[in-house]
């Protein structure tokens, strides 16, 4: 029974990653979209694809948190004390992202719109990064079973930081792949090319970071490393194949629905690879396992019941939401005072002042990421 609930928890984490992760990734591309004019159409696409779904996607996090504390309260408390600071920062990112995004839609004055938009975009990086460092801290045995305070080194060590960067890159990768699909649906070739380039770049960065993380784990948690290259190897290979498959098919301009599924599958296999490698340990290095740290059986049974109810009730509802979304049935209303012409057009010459956003940042970010990877790998060799 504990293993079943553990699988449910991992499923919840996977769904949060592949659904809400893409919403955070949208924030990354929004940040890198450039000035007012250059960034106009990609931002519009990002905004319209995230708007109706982000709150529903976000609920997976709540679901995961409550399952975690219900099923494994001791491990939950240990993580909450042992990794408090990055969790506070991740929560702060959630508040700023949600509020910034919701406010930007309603603001009409350009400077305030930019402020809200920048808040949304920057905080979209915070949450995945710090969540990644928390997972990194867990994976590198940074969380003791009964901590009394946060060990800041646990989540700032190279493995944890790499995990944080990987989370950001994976979010960007998912978002870019999904957005190529969205651009195709709208028949916008320019945006298709735009997000194809970004999906390629993000795929390369995420792949490189994954390899770097694996190499780094060799030094920081040998057991996890040997299991990732042992019993979890099929999943690791599948993840690599998914990544290469997506890269090949988007490069060949085959942005079909299946490509999005394969991209999500690739991220899912990384998460399940981690889960399989760590099984049955909850927090490496603590002796807390699925069995000895789980809630009483009646609670676990109730949890499985809730999950079945969720599949039966939420599954169809989510299917309805995504179907309506993909048919374009969900559009902002603006209280019935729309200007349909403007919405279809979007080609109106823009003449406003430019925002000083880091629009040359993409190349810079890639270079910086590679530099970080190289640096970390060298450091490991020195040790």
């Amino acid at each position: 029974m504990p293993a079943t609930v553990g699988a449910i928890l991992l499923t919840g984490i996977t769904l949060y990653a592949v659904l809400a992760g893409a919403d955070f990734g949208g924030g990354l591309w929004d940040l890198l979209a450039g000035g007012d004019q250059r960034g106009r159409s990609p931002r519009q696409l990002i905004d319209q694809s995230i708007s109706p779904v982000w709150e529903a996607n976000h609920v997976w996090l709540i679901f995961d948190l409550v399952i975690f504390w219900t099923a494994f309260p001791r491990a939950f408390a240990a993580v909450m004390i042992g990794a408090a600071l990055p969790l506070w920062l991740a929560a702060g990112g959630i508040v700023l992202r949600g509020a910034g995004f919701a406010f930007r839609k309603e603001i009409t004055r350009l400077p305030w719109m930019r402020a809200a938009g920048a808040t949304f975009a920057l905080s979209s990086l915070m949450t995945p990064f710090f969540m990644g460092t928390v997972i990194g801290a867990i994976a590198t045995r940074g969380i003791p079973p009964n901590p009394t305070s946060t060990n800041q080194h646990a989540w700032t060590n190279p493995t944890a930081v790499l995990a944080g960067l990987l989370f950001v890159a994976a979010c960007g990768y998912l978002a870019a792949v999904y957005l190529t699909g969205e651009a195709t649906r709208r028949g916008d070739r320019r945006l298709l090319a735009y997000f194809t380039r970004r999906a390629q770049a993000a795929a390369v960065v995420a792949g490189a970071l994954s390899l770097a993380l694996l190499a780094e784990l060799h030094g920081s948690n040998r057991v996890l490393y040997s299991r990732l290259t042992g019993r979890a190897l099929p999943l690791v290979i599948l993840a690599a194949l998914c990544g290469l498959g997506v890269l090949a098919s988007i490069s060949a301009h085959l942005p079909r629905f299946e490509v999005r599924v394969i991209a999500a599958l690739g991220v899912a296999t990384v998460i399940w690879g981690w889960g399989v490698a760590q099984y049955p340990v909850l927090l490496p290095g603590t002796g807390l396992t699925l069995d000895n740290a789980s809630a009483p059986r009646s609670v676990l049974v109730a949890l499985v019941g809730v999950f079945i109810a969720a599949v039966l009730v939420i599954g169809p509802s989510l299917a309805l939401l995504f179907t309506l979304q993909s048919r374009g049935a969900l559009q902002p209303d603006e209280a019935g005072l729309l200007m349909a012409a403007d919405r279809i057009g979007g080609a109106r010459p823009a003449s406003g002042p430019r925002a000083k956003l880091p629009h040359e940042g993409l190349k810079g970010a890639i270079v910086a990421l590679f530099a970080a990877v190289v640096y970390l790998r060298n450091r490991r060799r020195e040790r």
């Binding site: 960034g39 106009r40 159409s41 931002r43 519009q44 905004d47 319209q48 109706p52 779904v53 709150e55 529903a56 976000h58 609920v59 709540i62 948190l65 409550v66 399952i67 504390w69 219900t70 099923a71 309260p73 939950f76 408390a77 240990a78 909450m80 969790l87 506070w88 929560a91 992202r97 949600g98 509020a99 919701a102 839609k105 309603e106 603001i107 009409t108 350009l110 938009g117 305070s149 809630a295 009483p296 609670v299 109730a302 809730v306 969720a310 009730v313 309805l320 309506l324 969900l330 559009q331 603006e334 209280a335 019935g336 005072l337 729309l338 200007m339 403007d342 823009a350 003449s351 406003g352």
Partner: protein, 474 residues
């Protein structure tokens, strides 16, 4: 000896308890307003849309569409501030989660389910205005209203369980078995759930009423404003007497279930008969300053007889008594007093309607009406102060103290400071944006682009005319 050790142990960690409590109070006090709107506002919007569709009422229809835009902002802020509370359950109170996470987890899991439904159908409802036909669109909103109520029940189940814990067995600090439905429908849940759900509906109704009453006070005496006012005011005013009845029942139950909390609410220092009721008054060092004393009244309210024995706070040692009884008492009185004020407002309107089929013409009514939202919010916040401060020093009544539950991590003062600043900005921004929306609606122009950045395009001519309800119905 053990007692002294426990005191010593709690003294060591008590450094973080006060800021942790302050932070929980700030974030919960902020979120509860948005949560109330999240629970009840969809119903108000649906009511407006229902009237719009059924009676082909253009004004109600326009209100429904505009309100759903405001709802989009409120739901987003509510969703993120609610998430902060989920994090805080662990980050501020890891001791509580470590020991009782398995017990109080189930209601939260159920809440997660309803939160999901709420989020999904909110998206369909808010973004479906243009493409879903009239009644179909209305129906897509019904699950939001229902899951709002069920979600509120689930969360209140946890809070009431903390007041009346049960439904589990514990051995050597480990939870051995849990009866999840006994946890969910604990004794206190029976009165806390209706009390909070009614509070949410009242807060929402009076806030909506307050917004339009303020417009009417400023001279916007048109059909639009009167309709907006009525859609909020009428349901809230109808629910007010029910809320007073539920609250009265709850108070009597608390006198029985948590006598010390009740003693603090009513200034009962010593267990005795013929207990008087104090209206107002400040209790300091054994003396009550000011306040109106009504002899026998408290005994009468508790047991319908002046000779009813009421348990005082002398029944427990000083360490087990809540701090600042004056705060608890004054908040309780404020909640009850403001509840009756709202009841009076409702009676006033009912009287005028009965006499001349018209809302009250008196300016005083509209001035009070414009404050009714604030009054309802203050009453609700006071109620939360009563139940939360009144439970102290316990986080789980008579099982775990708040000090034992608090985190041992330092730096809560820092996070408290950040939270206060962040939430102040968030609150101000939310209100400013809602006001801005209102201004935009008033001017009737659609100077809005759905491109996040970029200069505003000039409106071509006038905006596209609104969908009339006849079109909607077809």
């Amino acid at each position: 000896m053990t007692r002294a050790l426990i005191t010593l142990a709690t003294a060591r960690v008590s450094g973080e308890v006060v800021p942790a409590r302050a932070q929980m109070a700030t974030t919960l006090g902020f979120h509860i307003i948005l949560a109330s709107l999240g629970i009840a506002f969809p119903t108000t919007v649906l009511l407006a849309e229902f009237i719009g569709l059924r009676r082909h009422n253009e004004t109600a229809m326009r209100l429904a569409r505009r309100w759903s835009q405001a709802m989009g902002v409120l739901v987003a802020v509510g969703a993120v501030t609610g998430t902060v509370l989920s994090f805080e359950m662990g980050l501020l109170w890891p001791g509580l989660m470590r020991r009782f996470g398995a017990v109080l987890g189930f209601p939260f899991d159920v809440e997660g389910l309803f939160f999901f439904l709420e989020a999904i159908f909110t998206a369909i409802y808010l973004y479906g205005w243009r493409r879903l036909s009239g009644w179909k669109h209305w129906a897509s909103g019904v699950p939001i209203a229902l899951s709002g109520i069920c979600g509120a029940m689930s969360v209140v189940a946890v809070n009431s369980w903390m007041n009346q814990p049960g439904g589990f067995t514990e051995r050597d600090g480990r939870i051995m078995s849990v009866h999840v439905w006994q946890v969910f429908f604990n004794h206190a849940a029976l009165y806390e759930m209706p009390h909070m759900i009614l509070a949410a509906y009242m807060v929402t109704g009076f806030i909506v009423a307050g917004v339009y009453a303020a417009g009417i006070v400023r001279g916007r005496r048109d059909r639009y404003h009167y309709t907006g006012f009525s859609l909020g005011f009428v349901p809230a005013a109808i629910l007010t007497p029910f809320q007073i009845f539920v609250g009265d029942t709850a108070a009597r139950a608390i006198a029985h279930d948590q006598p010390v909390k009740f003693a603090a609410m009513e200034y009962v220092a010593r267990t005795s008969r013929d207990v008087p009721e104090w209206l107002g008054g400040v209790y300091l060092n054994g003396q009550i300053y000011g306040g109106l004393k009504i002899p026998y009244m408290d005994s009468l309210l508790v047991g319908f007889s002046p000779s009813t024995k009421v348990v005082g706070w002398d029944s427990v040692p000083p360490a087990d008594r809540p701090p600042a009884v004056w705060l608890i008492h004054l908040c309780f009185d404020a909640m009850v007093g403001l509840g009756f004020l709202l009841l009076l407002g409702g009676l006033w309107a009912a009287f005028e309607w009965w006499r001349r089929r018209h809302l009250p013409p008196q300016r005083l009514f509209w001035l009070l009406g414009s404050l009714s939202g604030l009054v309802a919010v203050v009453a609700m916040e006071c109620g939360w102060v009563v139940t939360e401060v009144g439970r102290q020093p316990w986080v789980v009544y008579q099982l775990q103290t708040t000090a034992q539950a608090a985190t041992t991590n330092g730096g809560i003062l820092a996070s408290l400071t950040v939270v206060i600043v962040l939430y102040a900005i968030l609150g101000v921004a939310t209100i400013l944006i809602l006001r801005m929306l209102a201004r935009r609606w008033r001017h009737g122009d659609a100077d809005q682009t759905d491109v996040p950045y970029g200069p505003r395009p000039r409106p071509p001519e006038r905006s596209v005319p609104e969908r009339t309800s006849a079109e909607v119905a077809s």
